[in-house]
Symmetry: C2
Subunit: 252 residues, 2 copies
């Protein structure tokens, strides 16, 4: 009999932010495919005797290409296994969940998708930066800062460089200087608030607050290296105003 695949969002890092549904499936699976965005504390909660397959992907050293992950999910399910595809954050927000279920459907493999807390929500709450606010941000846009093969960014700058909204950039650490520069070129002032949250919601969370003009230097000075989320907009200032000090989380 064919098995099934559970595409599960593990949230932003803190195991306390797992959902009941996620944990239940984690404790029922035969095999788990996970990547480097899954914290060891979360992975520890997977059923002890489930096989663990690490499928990457660190930047610029994709341990296993996406096509191969898709094929592996199918292969394992066809062996009758209950396959857990555990993803950081939410599978349908920059999680490539859509591509994985495309393949599963094409092969007639039963599957379930379980949403998780996306990094934007987790980092916002743990860093004290509301993503929307009646007075400062009536909308919120999520983009990825991942560069194309030629090193450039494929973003609609005129759409992002606007007041009255919050821009959240996933995977923007390595393109931060270009991101900030383009937003200034397209009309936001160099004094526009921006913050980078590293390892958001984890005990090692660090928050670097600055402006489009100085954030790249501040982030470099702080030596951020881990998974990081960029938040751009006036809501960042609310954090300072609030003298945020939640749960002992420290600023960089």
């Amino acid at each position: 009999a064919v098995g099934e695949v559970w595409l599960v969002g593990a949230g932003p890092g803190d195991p306390d932010l797992l959902t009941f549904k996620a944990l239940r499936l984690m404790q029922q699976c035969d095999v788990v495919l996970h990547d480097r965005l899954i914290s060891p504390q979360v992975l520890d909660l997977v059923r002890r005797d489930a096989r663990r397959l690490f499928v990457g992907k660190a930047r610029s050293q994709h341990a296993v290409p996406q096509e191969q992950i898709n094929a592996e999910l199918v292969r394992l399910a066809q062996q009758g296994l209950r396959v857990l595809r555990l993803k950081g954050g939410d599978p349908f927000i920059f999680g490539r969940g859509g591509e994985e279920i495309d393949t599963l459907m094409a092969h007639g493999i039963p599957f379930q998708v379980v949403p998780g807390i996306t990094a934007a929500s987790g980092c916002a709450a743990y860093a004290g930066i509301p993503l929307t606010h009646r007075d400062h941000a009536q909308s919120c846009v999520f983009v990825t800062g991942h560069a194309r093969k030629d090193g450039t960014l494929d973003l609609h700058w005129d759409q992002l460089a606007r007041r009255g909204q919050t821009v959240v950039v996933y995977m923007g650490l390595h393109t931060l200087p270009a991101l900030c520069a383009e937003l200034i070129v397209h009309g936001l002032p160099p004094q526009w608030p921006a913050a980078m949250v590293e390892e958001g919601t984890s005990p090692s969370q660090r928050v670097v607050v600055g402006t489009l003009g100085d954030l790249p230097q501040r982030v470099e000075a702080a030596g951020l290296k881990g998974a990081s989320l960029l938040i751009v907009g006036e809501v960042v200032r609310l954090r300072e105003h609030l003298a945020w000090n939640a749960g002992g989380v420290k600023d960089a």
Copy 2:
């Protein structure tokens, strides 16, 4: 001694999507302030002997105005109580969490913010509509469809009426005809895919799929009335392609 306030995201409806952190605080509070977006199944999980305060808000009959909720949180915490402010979805995405913590900070009340799964994530996963997809949506924007007092919508249409992105509209049921019309006026084709998800993630979830041109009639014909989320973009088509049939959730 002063108490504290826990601003907790309860997620989109399914109690199985509560986080461990949310449930723990729900079981420790002395009093809970909740609104109509909290499902009875979730409210049932709050500590039995906690006092329950319903603070609205149904559309156009705001049971308790926001300023009064803010003041109530302060008043209860000053009595030394552990106050749970339980919110549908995520407190920092259209949850007015920013305004509530403004007030708490001004009064020196200790507080915590716990993120929840926002409606966009929950509805996407349970309706089979990825919010981002390498081929169809490289970004995702969240706005609110709540009308101003004069009945008009305060949205940047040129920014929303674009290909290659997914637009999610919270609270857009009552302004759906205007939303669709404006998106067409600003350049999206009438055939552009759009879906409305009612009571997303709950057992009574209904999904109405159509286009900008016909969704308002379809939604009216289906008689959607409950909390609804609008998703606009090519990703909606993936759902049909996928012949989605997750967990017995039915289409309208």
